[in-house]
Symmetry: D2
Subunit: 427 residues, 4 copies
């Protein structure tokens, strides 16, 4: 075959997934970080290829109108990553340039979901204030847009991205992770939800044929996939979206990239724990290697170039938040940006309730829609200031303040537990 | 005079300031929040008017090539606000809509500055890590742009805004502030820099004729202007810029709006304490009143509509940061967005140093240029994730990563102390 | 089956096309506008569905490195539209709201092309000045991006759209078209390329079982698909892209929408005749009907709401053009925006040649990349002024003017005729 | 004086103008292009300086509620340019880089106007269709915004720019201009409004002491300022706004830059002849010289880099127009972008009338507001396609199409002639 006959060949799919079957029996998936997990596929620098991904719970959540499945998710079985992918020529010390060329749902599964988890099963940023009970919104994908029968009146373009993507840690780096995280666990004994999660062999999974001893080692030592770390990981950065270019530090030969937890959309902060629009889908990659990139770019963590096709929602209403618990007991915190973010979010939710949305709907909307949260000021003791910008064009009516006030409409309710239980509404 | 003869009249300047003279002797200025400070001017809803403002130190910093003035700033004398401005018909419970129609420097003073303060005189977000010594960059304004002889190779359009703007507190609200902030002071005895600042009559100033007793009461009880609070205040939000509309809660009859601390530009976070480009200048306002706006909009804090003329710097390099002290001792923090912001900033500074900038220059640049800091994720225990986007078009060359690495150029140094003292460089 | 079981069903593909087979034998395609062409499918308002489309020549152009196929394209056989699609409840006088939810290439055919046609076979805006000979660029699609081995050094995100989309004309409207276009043909006898094209039964195609008499009537009277008209049609508007909403006037019962000529990307003006990146692909629609919309919106032609996901290429170099033939004989035209557009384009091509691109490459690049052409001024006799903005971020280096001038690189050549013939290079 | 004492000096104003006095008696102004007009000021490359400008009619239009002044404007006296400004070191063949650092109105004159001229006194793009009679809108400037008592319900941020800016022609270039324009005049004898304007000593003005002979030569030969040409001139490009950088070809020693016709805002096309928001004001410049820039950049006309502070009005309703006179007699034109622009504008005006605006108001609004006109397609014989995007955020209500149609409001009328005469309304 001549070279020219090869023109226009479709891009190969190197890992295949069936999104209608549980993740835990499928090859090419895994859910722990460990340097000894062998790569399932090898690619050349410059090659364009596709990777299929399961959604983060591996098929535990369904397209229904109640949230019982959310209440019962087994969190030891997440996340289900596709990989590792070995990139030829990558060596420790290099930078791996990953071009995220596309991120799409499976055409045969044009929907995703956002969920609120209960305090004793994952929880979330507001699980204590709200005494959260399970809630859910199903999002239907219509081309570039998502809308939900559980949150009427909004529709927005997806800023699709992998919530979780990273290179494999070296043995040394893995040990550092486990050590430092154990310290914070030890410092908060019995905390619910947990402040961090240690290695845990229950629920661990590597969808490959492995010697038993190796498998047990990986399961016993492997870092949990929940947090983002130096290698990337579960950073949940909405702007690391299709069209962006990301530079990862390489810690092992071949880089061993893994990816999963695809999101059709997400708001800055992902405030409801399972807050993005979670989906199964297909990601298209091109990788290249920059020798000694860690030194060249002072790369302690990934850096990236955002995409030119991120949705443009320039018109916003912006809500301020400072590090005083104004929606709670009024406690003054000291330069705490997390508290400030929460106050801005609570101010925004209160506004949404004036428009007619329930607390559950407002909670689920802010986690899924492309809201922008800025660290405005970390300078003016004792108050950090964080702002949250709510895009106005995602609503099917004007939501701007008017002298007459806001028109309250009837929007029903999100999918909640079938026993009707809801958490506390502090506002 | 007929109505038509009034067409086209210039907008009146209701408070005048001489930026070349110290603030502390000028009428119409003040530097404490107190409900009993009488308004110095009254405006009608719908009226367009101008207010002149001193820069935040009231003239203590000069257009020179060393930072000795920064080292010696008397912080009891800041901020110098113009006001209060009484708005007819505003009542407690209302919302005051303030349109920030324009913010400009004085034509006769086309420059401003950014400063790094020392640990024992204000400090800043990095004062401990860097053991900061005074540093300064003078910024020259050329129309819409700022550039600095102390940080060559960059120029950017200003996103000009008042760092500090707010309505007067009620007596009850003032008491709440003083009480809650005292608690946090009490919880951190002897902390340097202080975690919060109590009322302080030394340096207090109200540029009006007042009965002695009233003046002493204001000076003794008046809240310091450093933090932002429920009324707005020193929020240092770069996007509350010229062209934006802000809704403030009203706590006293007439609202009694005050404003100052104008910034020609600022980065998200304002990370060097005096981090914006501080300037004296002129702000143009139009106010209106929305009856019962606090209830109508669930207004615990200001909300605002951003401006259509904010500079568009869409192309960025984005730096990730997680809540692990990777630039220090590797300590794992628990979901701390402040730590994550700092790590992202340190990653960005390390990159800037590869380009040839000194630590002081990188520090001053990130505080002044329109960088964007997003709270990416507050969900994945134990790591908060914050990103900082550095606009690439503000540089006079491409700063994108290349396979060859970054070209290091000679950029001199920021203005530092005349004795040559510099802090520690941890990177 | 309960309603809930229907949740999450994939969107049906109502017209299927094989892009590897010639269009002229496939069902559901057609290439003339006529009110009597029966709909091939009926949809309900609100239904989401997919339509597959052939590329505009119906498979005559191939993924090769010469342009002989372009030279030999049979233009009587274009465009190959999918349709008509009947929308329930639509009546003459209504507006048909078409949401263009997505536009993608076939996954199995990740490439498209741009072509320059010869003067005696289609020609184009510059066919006389350049005495054009066939040229071609193949564009490879990598997720959201396109790049070409024939035009090295550029890559850009697609602004994918249907070049051709419209409702069926009524008999009366069709007669108006044919009459007015015949007049302009009659006024320019023997003009090459033709100023307009009359109905032509040679090459006409309707991929349905039809009575012979009806087929002959359609072929004899049907309007050619080349120009855009009151119903939409071949408007080649790059911003009518995926994510946009378009309001079409309805002229026949059911509206009878047809669509084709998909473009992965296009520049304003589509200056090389076959100038967009032509592709076969899949379009996703949702339609609804607004009763009496023609009257309600004064709808003489379609209006549309652009998409929030159009690529953002804000940084540009802008080239001015006025209605004087400065690249030719210096003739002064009178307020002619077409001439002004051409001058701006020629100024831009001259700049691209300084960078190292050939005339053919520059020609093909401007037609395919998302350049922005603005009618700047139609007011200052005798000179219309048009500007063309060339996005700088699509190049892999800085192309901004520098004091040293522009660096000329070696970029090879576009695909040209295998006999090596090229047109004149007037610059 | 030490160097450091010079820091922070205000930028000098090199040409001063009194906007309340007629232009025709003020020094430093002129209204013809001629190589022999001596510079009135010389600047160094890199120097920042200000130039004051009269409005284009030199004070003939007033802030009133009728349009009688528009009807009577003496067009021989326009435009009133400030200059020439000689730039040290500039030589023929160079490029002059002009940074437009700022453009503001005079603080003491916060208003401007848009006008519709009568057919026999200037006319305009629609003067024949509308049989235009004088109309006017006064725009009040409130900081970054303009609004008009004559067109209620809209407010927008200014995209302020010089309508007219250019370098002086050489004697040879001037001769070319006069020759080619005379040809087009000769080809359209008696045309009203004129297709072009020959040199005319009546109304000519150079505000300098000149020898009589030189003055008479300039007045007899000097090119009129109406059209844009190779040197820039009256291009009326809205995006050549404050913050942009423009590269002009240099034709005479010193470049001899002149500037005037400042606009607070303008829509693409400036469709009403005096269509922008005309104002007197102040422009801030910095110039530098690129040796042999004409050759380096293939500079037949200016090229420019747009500003990062142009207002962002991304949400638009877009109106299509093709080169068929659908609002008139239905004539088919051949690839005429000017006709297509007009049709798109008429479609937009028809929509605005459904909202309640009069023909005069719609006409004046489209000329002044930042509408975007794109040359969509110049490829599909016989129809050129032009689109006009109307920004939705400039209105104080939603103007999007709804199933119910558009709500018609009462908006009064523009300023018209005091005798009440209005032109024809063809829609």
């Amino acid at each position: 075959m001549s070279t020219s006959q090869a023109y226009g060949a479709p891009h190969p799919t190197l890992i295949k997934v069936n999104p209608f079957e549980p993740a835990e029996k499928q090859a090419g998936l895994m859910n722990r970080w460990h340097p000894d997990i062998p790569p399932v596929v090898t690619v050349q620098p410059g090659e364009v290829f596709k990777i299929e991904c399961h959604e983060w719970t591996g098929g535990q959540v369904h397209n229904t109108d109640n949230a019982d499945d959310i209440a019962e998710v087994d969190l030891t079985k997440i996340h289900n990553l596709s990989g590792p992918i070995r990139v030829e020529t990558a060596q420790p010390g290099d930078a791996l340039l990953v071009e995220i060329l596309d991120v799409t749902p499976f055409p045969e599964m044009p929907w995703g979901y956002s969920g609120v988890f209960e305090l004793n099963n994952g929880g979330g940023l507001f699980s204590k204030e709200f005494e959260t009970r399970a809630a859910k919104a199903i999002w239907d994908f219509e081309g570039v847009y998502a809308s939900s029968r559980h949150i009427p009146g909004v529709r927005f373009a997806g800023i699709s991205h992998p919530g979780l993507i990273g290179t494999a840690p070296s043995a040394e780096l893995l040990a550092t992770w486990n050590e430092r995280e154990q310290k914070v666990i030890d410092a908060h004994p019995g905390c619910v939800p947990a402040v961090a999660l240690p290695p845990e062999s229950v629920g661990a999974y590597v969808g490959q044929d492995l010697p038993d001893e190796l498998r047990q080692k990986i399961y016993a030592e492997g870092a949990r996939t929940i947090p983002g770390r130096e290698h990337g990981g579960n950073c949940d950065i909405k702007n690391l979206s299709k069209g962006s270019k990301c530079y990862f530090p390489v810690f092992v030969e071949g880089a061993n990239l893994s990816v999963g937890d695809l999101h059709f959309s997400q708001g800055d902060g992902e405030l409801s724990f399972c807050g993005a629009i979670e989906m199964a889908g297909i990601i298209t990659f091109k990788c290249s290697v920059i020798k000694d990139g860690i030194e060249k770019f002072a790369l302690k963590q990934p850096i990236f170039i955002p995409s030119p096709v991120d949705p443009l929602y320039a018109n916003q209403i912006v809500f301020e938040g400072i590090s005083v618990d104004l929606h709670g007991d009024g406690t003054q915190h000291s330069m705490d940006a997390t508290v400030a973010y929460k106050q801005a979010a609570l101010n925004c939710m209160a506004y949404l309730k004036k428009l007619g949305y329930t607390r559950e709907q407002a909670h689920l909307l802010l986690t899924a829609a492309p809201i922008e949260a800025h660290v405005a000021a970390l300078v003016d003791v004792p108050n950090a200031c964080v702002t949250i910008g709510l895009p106005t064009a995602i609503f099917d009516r004007s939501i701007l303040p008017t002298p007459e006030g806001l028109e309250k409409r009837e929007y029903g309710q999100a999918a909640i537990r079938s026993d009707g239980l809801r958490g506390k509404d502090p506002n």
